[in-house]
Amino acid sequence: MSSKVNKVHEPLFHIAKRTGIPTWLSWLIRILSVAAALVACAVVTVILTGENPISVYATMIDGAIGTKRRVWSLLQNTAILLCISLAVTPAFKMKFWNIGAEGQVLMGGLATTACMILFGESMPSLLLYVLIIVTSIAAGAIWAFIPAFFKAKWNTNETLFTLMMNYIAMQIVSYFTYIWSVPKGSGQIGVINAATRAGWLPSIGGNAYLINIIIVAVLTVGMYVYLKYNKHGYELSVVGESENTAKYIGINVKKVIMRTMLLSGAICGIAGLLLVSGTDHTITRNTVEGRGFTAIMVSWLAKFNPVYMILTSLLLVFLQKGAIEISTIFGLNDSFSEIITGIIIFFIIGSEFFVNYQIKFRESQKGGNK
């Protein structure tokens, strides 16, 4: 910058941390950012398709909630995304960057698949369900525990560790899709127990996905209570705020890290169960479809609050569904939805700045130059 310092030059503006912000104002900022993001998305869509913006929005809404089937699919996808978001939340509140949800969900799903294939014929259905639930929770929890153990013991970087665990999980799933593939060597498992429906989550009142949604709703309430009213929830938020503070007041940080990651992985395992047993009835290495990463954004956008997460996950799934509809109608690639998701998240991430900081402009001095 300028090296001449004959005059103290005050910058045009500087940035200061807000001491407090009224809730209404913070939400106004967030809502405005979503609105701005929607406008930006519409602009992009209009440029690419040449359609007028109103019909673009109409197509999106139609794609997301146009038919009864679509509404169910929207709710189902929201439930799964919400479930994974709930799973990663306690870890994030602790500032443990678990970006391995993808792998933990896959391992849970793999455990479910194994139970369905190996014991689907031979076991009474009640026992099979119990076995599925126990193994999938255990599989997810173990997969999350490994990085947590090393973090607690040797402070191994958890972001990179959990990231690598994702791809190991994917390869393991690929391995088993070859082992169990139908027909042999095709590398695809296909629908498991299609005839007997053994190990499939039952449909309630003819709605196949209702049970998933109910399970996730219960989990949401449970997580809200756990984080807000439970001692564990308090402890992990203290660890997240400051590890040293936690140590001074006698919290066993290592124990909290491992315990929280076990919980995080266990819920991921349930998400895997819901995906395999409750939705797809099969598994591939891409079953999770990157939701493990999207969940991180959902959780962060909702400020780690399970209730707001319902809104953020619904928003993202709604946009994805809408964008896929647009790409189908205009014969474009359905990765369009990822572009839209990216844009929305960029805007919301950016808006957080204005919630946390304020820009103070230089006050004009009387008689001062400029």
């Binding site: 960057w97 040797w154 690929s174 990822e338 998240i345």
Partner: protein, 325 residues
């Protein structure tokens, strides 16, 4: 056969080398850019777009332009991604992990979207994106490579981008360890508050490193499409290489010179299953796991050893705000 194996391992390794060198430069300033996977997709795709438009519009292909246009558009594309990331994390102080993942979502989506829709959007009548002519210009090897037997095959048979990758890694290594700016850059990553107090502009270094890092990573995507894939874009063809590049950063313990060797090893691990006879399809999948397992082992090892020069930059993943001290 060993010669062919080494050759293919190197070709596999070069995109990773680009990606990891870029990521190391970025991470050395404390910015953990998990968007590298997305940046590499965007770099590859913008290169393809540039080449595609040029091949469609030009009567005859001028080899110099055919190389320069994709490279320039690749630079612009990845520069945009780098700027976006730095604006959000440095200026707006957003969370780096979330921003990086959003960048990956966006970048992979961008690559696949234009990969699948470019032909329709430009209204051309080609059935698929096949840039053979451009690819041939990129793949121009040294003229005397095939006259030197195995030596030529192992060391001289690659295209200019491959040598560029090695050169960039060596330059980066020199820059970090032997120049004042490199020292400043590392200081920003280790302790931004101290660097700031010493009069180093933290934001400037973070911006520059992230943008330069992104451009380098973007070349990885370009190399993949133009050289490895012979100019044929296939969606998701690039696969998980972006994440593998991030893994390589750890494997090379944040040293660009080591990542040259590391990238060849990773490239070898990536394809070794093709060279083991009688390997079933399922076992091949297990072999593909090795780069990640090796990375985890390295990660655990360096955290247990606690050797100071092998640690990640101390402020990795944290945004810096002067008033928060």
């Amino acid at each position: 056969m060993i010669v062919a194996f080494i050759q293919r391992a190197v070709v596999q390794g070069i995109p990773l080398l680009f990606g990891s060198t870029g990521e190391i430069i970025t991470e050395k300033t404390g910015n953990l850019n998990l968007g590298t996977a997305g940046v590499m997709y965007v770099g590859g795709m913008t290169g393809v777009i540039g080449a595609f438009l040029y091949e469609q519009s030009a009567e005859t292909i001028n080899p110099v332009l055919a190389v320069l246009i994709p490279m320039l558009s690749c630079v612009l594309g990845s520069l945009f991604m780098g700027l976006l990331y730095s604006f959000l994390t440095v200026t707006l102080r957003a969370n780096q992990n979330v921003t990086g993942l959003a960048l990956t979502t966006f970048g992979v989506g961008f690559g696949n979207f234009f990969g699948g829709s470019l032909i329709k959007l430009t209204g051309s009548d080609t059935p698929s994106i096949t840039l053979t002519q451009t690819s041939n210009c990129f793949k121009q090897a040294l003229p005397f490579a095939d006259k030197l037997g195995w030596f030529g095959d192992v060391f001289l048979s690659y295209s200019f981008l491959a040598y560029m990758a090695v050169a960039i890694a060596l330059i980066a290594s020199f820059f970090f360890n032997r120049t004042r700016a490199g020292l400043h850059l590392r200081a920003v990553g280790e302790n931004p508050a101290t660097a700031d107090a010493a009069g180093i502009s933290v934001s400037k270094y973070k911006y520059l490193a992230t943008c330069v890092g992104s451009i380098i990573a973007g070349f990885g995507g370009l190399y993949y499409v133009m050289d490895y894939a012979c100019g044929v874009w296939s969606n998701d063809g690039f696969g998980d290489r972006g994440w593998l590049a991030i893994a390589l950063v750890i494997f090379a313990i944040w040293k660009p010179s080591l990542s040259i060797l590391g990238s060849m090893i990773f490239g070898g691990l990536f394809i070794v299953h093709n060279y083991i006879p009688n390997l079933s399809m399922s076992m091949q999948e297990i072999f593909k796991m090795t780069p990640y397992v090796v990375t985890i082992v390295v990660l655990i090892f360096i955290s247990m050893r606690r050797k100071r020069e092998n640690q990640p930059p101390a402020s990795l993943g944290l945004s810096y705000f002067r008033e928060e001290r």
